[in-house]
Symmetry: C2
Subunit: 247 residues, 2 copies
Amino acid sequence: MSPMYSDQEHIVSAYDRDLEAIQALVMRMGGLVEAAILDSARALETRDVELAEKVRAGDRTVDELEVQINEECARTIAIRGPVSQDLRVLLTVFRLSGSLERVGDYAKNMAKRTSVLVEMRPLPGADSALRRMAREVQLMLKDTLDAYVRRDAELAEDVRQRDHDVDQMYNAIFREFLTFMMEDPRNITGCMHLHFIAKNIERMGDLVTNMAEQVIYLVTAKMPDDSRPKGDETPYMRAEASDDKGE
Amino acid sequence: MSPMYSDQEHIVSAYDRDLEAIQALVMRMGGLVEAAILDSARALETRDVELAEKVRAGDRTVDELEVQINEECARTIAIRGPVSQDLRVLLTVFRLSGSLERVGDYAKNMAKRTSVLVEMRPLPGADSALRRMAREVQLMLKDTLDAYVRRDAELAEDVRQRDHDVDQMYNAIFREFLTFMMEDPRNITGCMHLHFIAKNIERMGDLVTNMAEQVIYLVTAKMPDDSRPKGDETPYMRAEASDDKGE
């Protein structure tokens, strides 16, 4: 009995070491993606083409980290044969890294627009609104990773709720762009660019929310069963709709 | 030597049976999500509140299938201890089911709008444009699942390319809505609803593209390294931008 027990102990600690190494990679990846979100928003606001280029180049590292994490997850599963909770942790990490990679993609996409926006005339308030939105998503991502590390379902649930704010910000920006475009058709192209950026940020928020749900699932073993708060709900509100409904 | 070999054979075939059962669940889930995409678009076009309600109710089954698939994947990994390609197949299925669930969410979201749209005046051509877009995404999803089953990286790559068409459709619809809104402000609320629907469909296309990339990764063991074709690219085109740039 005793050798088996010590064998078991050996396996557990080897798994722990592997998991720790993988988690370190995820945290590094998360840090890079957080920075990419903030940098791409800042590049946009200050029309800093050089910083935007840095974000675009940096996405390669994020992509490489995803591949590395996936391989390490597969290797650890194959070698250590984890079961139950240990296996679920690895499967969660595997999904989180996929979402992180996509958030990074959207940040890169946002950065790519900076070089076009330098040629457009600025719209009052639009850039700072987008930066605030990006900042909120970055904080959500930070908290999601913290929630993962601390196995804190409450914090993850908090993130999930905050996605609603991001969606509200998106809706507010969308309405503002509409006004700009109707005021002066020369604003249309610029607004469309900025709208695509807002859409990118909203989508990042969506991905981060999904990550938070994965964390909740990991900690509580069940998915939040009320459907996720969707900012797209706003337009369901009849009060809002009734403004323009007098046809 | 011979007993070990037969033991190995036994393990392999048990794994195959498990995998087959999981794949059957994925295909069922895929079929339900395909139907949800088409039904929600049709409900929208024909203002069929009852059909929309059916889509919303049906999403519960999709969610349950995801949970079931995840559990079966984890169970199979834990019990069969698959390695290398077998393990990669299961990890791919695990990710595909997550994306499928989210596509289903967007279809449900789309269906939810039908009840609001019945109160709006219709915009010429908008509903059929959205239906065509939804139809394209449904076909992409069908081909992605076929590509998975047949391990056909070429077909998956074809899906990936077609996401560009969906994004182009989105951009065309977006521009059309802009025109409607500028022509008559009473169109604004209706257009905003329809725009959210177009955005949902585009996002489904995005998720399906991501699924296609997972299939490519499974078959070829590497991610397509040129970044995914993004319809958001359209506005990068200077020719298009130059129209309104004379400020």
